[in-house]
Amino acid sequence: MAAEMSHLERASAALANEEVDRLTIYPIACGVCRKLIGDGNITYRQWVNDPKLFAQAFIEGQKYFDLDFAIGLMDLSVMAGDLGAGVRMDEQNTPFVDKHIVNGPEDYEKFEVPDIKKGRSAVLLEGTKIFADALNDQVITAGFIEGPLLALSQSAGAERMFMDIFTNPSAVHKALEIMTDYDAQMVEGFAKTGVKGLCWDYLWGNYACLGDAEYHEFEADKYASKLNKMTVDNGMAMCIHNCADLPHLDTQIKEFKPSIYSMAYYPLISDSPSASQVIEKGYADHCLVAGQVDPQVFIRSSAEDVAKITTNLCQEVKTALCKRNLKSSYCIASGCEIPPDINCKLENIKSMVDTAKVEGRM
């Protein structure tokens, strides 16, 4: 067993699949950490519109939970909102798009890249810089951004966009070019924040939505490949989060070659791969795979149950890594963002982290 490592030493070693003292840990605790600021009554509207508050959540989260990474997810309506879509901000719920801006194929050609020095794009970049400055000497930090197809679906409405992929592909491509230009500007913006990585949400690369041909045409080949390269060229580790049920693992891991791949597990879906299956199939040979605790347990289970779930996952992962002769390329994480609901139990998150620190020892 390796001597106790710092967060940075451990995470760096895991990214290279080198020997570690224990598995890395990252519950995707983002919006929920607003409860750790001040008296804990900050609303979502305040949190997503104030870069200092946004950053403070990650800084306080690190103090409280003691994690190996800090990844600055705000929500998935940042880009759509700055493109002109209506965003609903409830007091204690993740903001979401409630008014799309594509009403016909001609609207795809009306998109324009917004000024990223304004709006929530600016809040996201400024907030990311603040927490990166504060945490870069402790953990590996990363920004979080929507991929072009997700940004477009949030702006146009997923159902409309998917039908237009079928009926008006050229119009969809024109809009995707604009989304990619917007994303490209954000990549440069994130590079200036000092984060060590950038995590892309490439949600629609999943077989419940798109086949290989469609995904390659509408995201992978022309758009994501450019952005992935740009991320690395700008000095950041390219990471991917995809919490869909049937992710395109061959494309998003073997072709895209991310440093970290964060994913969920859906036991009801017969083809959804568990942590051990992902490792057995060789995906953790290529990158640090992160997952797959069900985010609902942080609301609906007890701390004792979360400890049992985490223990089981650690055992499953360690056994699978051992069989594959891998040293550390799996991160004990939640499959998706921990629900930032007011009923989310911080003690459950702590239970996952504290349990993984013990049960994840190598």
């Binding site: 204690q92 159902e159 419940a208 939505c209 469609e214 049920d245 009801l268 879906i269 629900p339």
Partner: protein
């Protein structure tokens, strides 16, 4: 020209089989204009050739079933499924009004909604399509629907099924509130309640008193056909 085609006054009229094939093929290929045209031809041909109900069940629904099977087998994906659903509804809009009231009354009813506080409805729409394709008369209340509206509409419709969906954790409690409302109104025992959406699970369904949480849209439709 099909071998069963008929000529009336010099004008070619499609046979029953040709009409059914046209409707099914329209749905499979996602061609809404073809479905509408086929539906109009059904009405023009009259009940002696093909009733509207048979055109729906053996044409449009058959096509949607083929698409559902192909989707389950990863042979087609969401864009095609959505286009096929859009096509099926195009044909249904024309054919449903032509079904005699007595036959409509025999169809099982389903009320479907995304609960209050959530506007993500793509999953709900796919489930609606599969339940419609299973022969249910579906009343779609849309998205962001208040508890009281679901409860009151369930009773007013005398619905057999209440189907609810949400993609967000904070709005999951709206499902329980709806079931509590159905219990309070005395209607819960008269309907099945099914739920869906990424954060939900069978154990959550059990906790809140719902009858079923399937793995996917086809699964939900199969369950309802089985129990009703």
């Amino acid at each position: 020209m099909g071998e069963y085609g008929l000529h009336y006054g010099g004008k070619y009229m499609s046979s029953r089989e040709e009409l059914l094939d046209k409707l099914a093929n329209a749905v499979v290929s996602g061609k809404v204009d073809m479905a509408k045209e086929g539906a109009q031809e059904v009405l023009a041909a009259g009940n002696s050739v093909l009733t509207a109900l048979d055109a729906i069940n053996e044409g449009l629904v058959k096509g949607m079933s083929i698409v559902g099977d192909k989707y389950a087998a990863y042979q087609v994906y969401l864009p095609q499924v959505l286009m096929s659903a859009h096509t099926m509804y195009g044909g249904l809009d024309i054919l449903l009004p032509a079904i005699p009231k007595s036959e409509v009354e025999n169809r099982k009813k389903c009320l479907i909604a995304v609960v209050e506080g959530d506007v993500h409805d793509i999953g709900k729409n796919i489930v609606k399509t599969m339940i419609t394709a299973s022969g249910f008369d579906v009343n779609d209340l849309g998205k962001d629907v208040p508890v009281q509206k679901i409860v009151e509409t369930a009773e007013a419709d005398q619905t057999n099924v209440v189907a609810m969906s949400t993609l967000m954790t904070p709005t999951m409690d709206g499902m329980k509130a709806t079931i509590d409302g159905l219990i309070e109104s005395g209607y819960r025992s008269k309907c099945k309640v099914i739920i869906g959406g990424a954060p939900t699970s069978p154990s959550f369904a059990e906790t809140i008193g719902a009858d079923y949480r399937g793995a996917n849209a086809q699964d939900a439709a199969s369950y309802l056909k089985e129990v009703l």
